[in-house]
Amino acid sequence: MPRVTVHLYASLRSYAGGAPSVEVEIRPGQTVEETLHALGIPSDQTRILFVNNRAAATNQPLQDGDRIGAFPAIGGG
């Protein structure tokens, strides 16, 4: 089974027991959103998504070894 690493930030870490990242198995072609749903993260909690450090859409299919970065609304500066 292909595996991806999901890096969670800020309030989203509560969905992984406070851990900064989790490694999960995915089925071939599984999307970013499906992967986050599998972790119990509702779609409305994520605002910024990356796959391999590039901005990603929720329906982007994933491949073995991908790195997901998921954030709620973030700002500052």
Partner: protein, 577 residues
């Protein structure tokens, strides 16, 4: 009627006057830039008597408008040679507004190098000798004022760096706890205040009162609409209060735009150790303060109070930009060391962005190695001692870099870039290149659309759409900087029409006439036009609206990109002027 105080530091006289020349409705950056552009000879030396330091609360400051306590300080900048406006939170802006003061203008220059204190009350402005404050940091300076004038006053002060008239010197503003933690950091405004011989301005607002709107009922309704929008947006109501500005560290690093070791890489391998999440946990475990407001009426509360392992106060925040500048940019991963440097910067009166970037250039120069936190602290301590090396550090990245023969100096118009690499966030590169202020992220925060998915999305790695984005943001920002509102309200404004409507309705009720989004845009444009004209007369040309060449040549990891917005596109940013 609001009053403008002209404080002549050459002959130590004070003159009160009504605003003239269409200035009566202006505040904040719109007023500082109008006065500087209208009265300061563009070719003058920034430390000469001809320069003026204009201190102005925003249009809505002092009212019940949420997050409206910003203080603008403007002059010709000794760092950039351009016009400059730098703004800060803290309590002084509201105190000035409650006294009915639209601006204090410091003019002239004392001949003998003496130091003075200005005492601002409902009776006016008094100039007092303050030579006893010579050589003091901001913390000791304000402590002496609170001893003498009571705990309720606000202080605007300079540290040793301002006394040295160093180009990276800030103007400090006290916070609700009376600490000098909020700073008009950028562009050396502290050096101009130092050149005027003013060490501290004490503002006692007792006897003052909140500015009344022309239509109080409509104002109240508009305030509620605006406050509701801020409370509804997840960024201004949840992330910023809980994690502070440094929540950005991980997302900017994830995007590959987190400048590392003097802009030589786009990701720092130890970001987690200096992240907003880590900072939150450290502060919470040690009993510091999360969700701290820098002035009354701030609902966002992005500030925090950082304490050491024994729970003793160290400093505020620190903020994202500060943690990056003294952290990733220097290869330093120690939050406690960064907090100590933030405290030192605040005490010495230094811009934390410029100073951190200068330390990184010092590391590039080999003065100390990257990652050497104790060495960096020693370099900062040199500033307080007034040594030659300390004065170089306080002069900013461009000067220190040139003195040590460094080729990679990340500055525009002599001002160091903040915490976003323009190669991986090309929109902010357009702002850095073309801002009237030198490299300044706040001037047009394209990170919102490039990375944060706020106000739409624009691909950060491509040049397309960046000029239009930066132009719109620079116009809107100039208006927000005039309003006295904290720029962070823009996150709600970009996503929620009610927030923008709320601002216009507050201004309409304040003025007692119709006020539309077009009026707000015109205010921003007029401010930028005045600033551009000043800069042009001071000798700035399109060739100055460029990033350093290495951004076009050195590829940035992990995306292996260079800055690719063409020069001729950069020249179109101000095509409305």
């Amino acid at each position: 009627m609001a009053v403008i105080y002209r404080v002549n530091m050459s002959d130590l006289t004070v003159r009160a006057e009504e605003p003239g020349d269409g200035h009566s409705e202006l505040g904040g950056r719109a007023l500082t830039s109008a006065l500087v552009a209208g009265e300061v000879p563009p070719g003058c030396h920034p430390l000469a008597a001809e320069n003026k330091l204009v201190i102005a609360p925003g249009i809505l400051t002092g009212t019940a408008a949420p997050c409206s306590g910003r203080l603008s300080v403007g002059a010709k900048s000794p760092l950039t040679g351009t016009i400059k406006e730098s703004n800060s939170g803290g309590t002084a802006a509201q105190a000035l507004a409650n006294l009915g003061i639209q601006a204090i203008v410091l003019e002239g220059r004392p001949a003998d190098g003496r130091l003075f204190r200005l005492v601002v009350t409902s009776d006016g402005v008094q100039i007092e000798p303050a030579d006893d404050l010579k050589g003091l940091g901001n913390y000791d300076t304000v402590a002496r004022q609170f001893e003498r004038f009571g705990q309720k006053v606000s202080c605007i002060s300079i540290g040793q760096a301002g006394e040295f008239r160093a180009a990276a010197a800030s103007v400090a503003v006290t916070d609700i706890e009376g600490r000098p933690t909020r700073h008009c950091g950028r562009g050396g405004m502290g050096a101009v205040m130092g050149s005027k011989g003013v060490k501290v301005i004490v503002v006692d607002a007792s006897g003052g009162r909140r500015p009344a709107a022309t239509d109080p009922q409509a104002f109240k309704t508009a305030v509620k609409k605006f406050a509701d929008a801020l409370m509804k947006h997840p960024l201004t109501s949840q992330t910023l209060p809980k994690y502070g500005t440094n929540a950005l560290a991980n997302v900017i690093n994830e995007a590959g735009a987190y400048p590392t070791r003097n802009f030589s890489a786009g990701q720092f391998e130890r970001t987690e150790a200096i992240s907003g999440e880590k900072q939150h946990d450290v502060i919470a475990e040690r009993g510091g303060v999360i969700a701290h407001a820098c002035h009354r009426g701030c609902t966002i509360r992005c500030s925090r109070i950082y304490v050491d392992e024994k729970g003793q106060y160290v400093t505020k925040g620190p903020e994202y930009e500060t943690i990056w500048a003294h952290g990733a940019d220097c290869g330093i991963d120690d939050l406690d060391a960064i907090a100590r440097m933030d405290r030192l910067d605040d005490d010495l009166g230094l811009d934390t962005i410029e100073t951190g970037a200068t330390l990184a250039v010092a590391m590039e120069a080999g003065i100390i190695p990257f990652g050497d936190a104790e060495g960096a602290i020693r370099l900062l301590e040199e500033v307080g001692k007034g040594t030659a090396l300390g004065r170089l550090v306080a002069s900013g990245a461009a000067v220190l870099g040139k003195a040590y023969g460094v080729a990679r100096i990340p500055t525009v118009k002599g001002q160091a870039m903040p915490a976003y690499d323009p190669r991986a966030a090309q929109g902010i590169g357009v702002t850095y290149a073309t801002s009237t202020m030198g490299a300044d992220h706040t001037a047009g925060y394209a990170i919102a659309q490039n990375i944060l998915s706020v106000g739409g999305t624009v691909d950060p790695l491509k040049p397309e759409g960046q000029v239009e984005l930066s132009r719109a943001l620079q116009i809107a920002t100039a208006a927000i900087d005039a309003s006295g509102l904290c720029l962070f309200v823009a996150f709600a404004v970009l996503d929620d029409q009610n927030a923008m409507d709320g601002i216009c309705e507050m201004l309409a009720a304040h003025y007692g006439r119709a006020y539309t989004a077009d009026d707000f845009t015109q205010l921003g444009k007029a401010t930028l036009i005045a600033e551009r004209r000043f800069n042009s007369a001071a000798g700035f040309a399109p060739a100055d609206d460029r990033l350093p060449d290495f951004f076009k040549k050195e590829k940035l990891s992990p995306h292996n990109v260079t800055f690719s917005v063409p020069d001729e596109e950069l020249d179109k940013v101000f095509d409305f002027a």
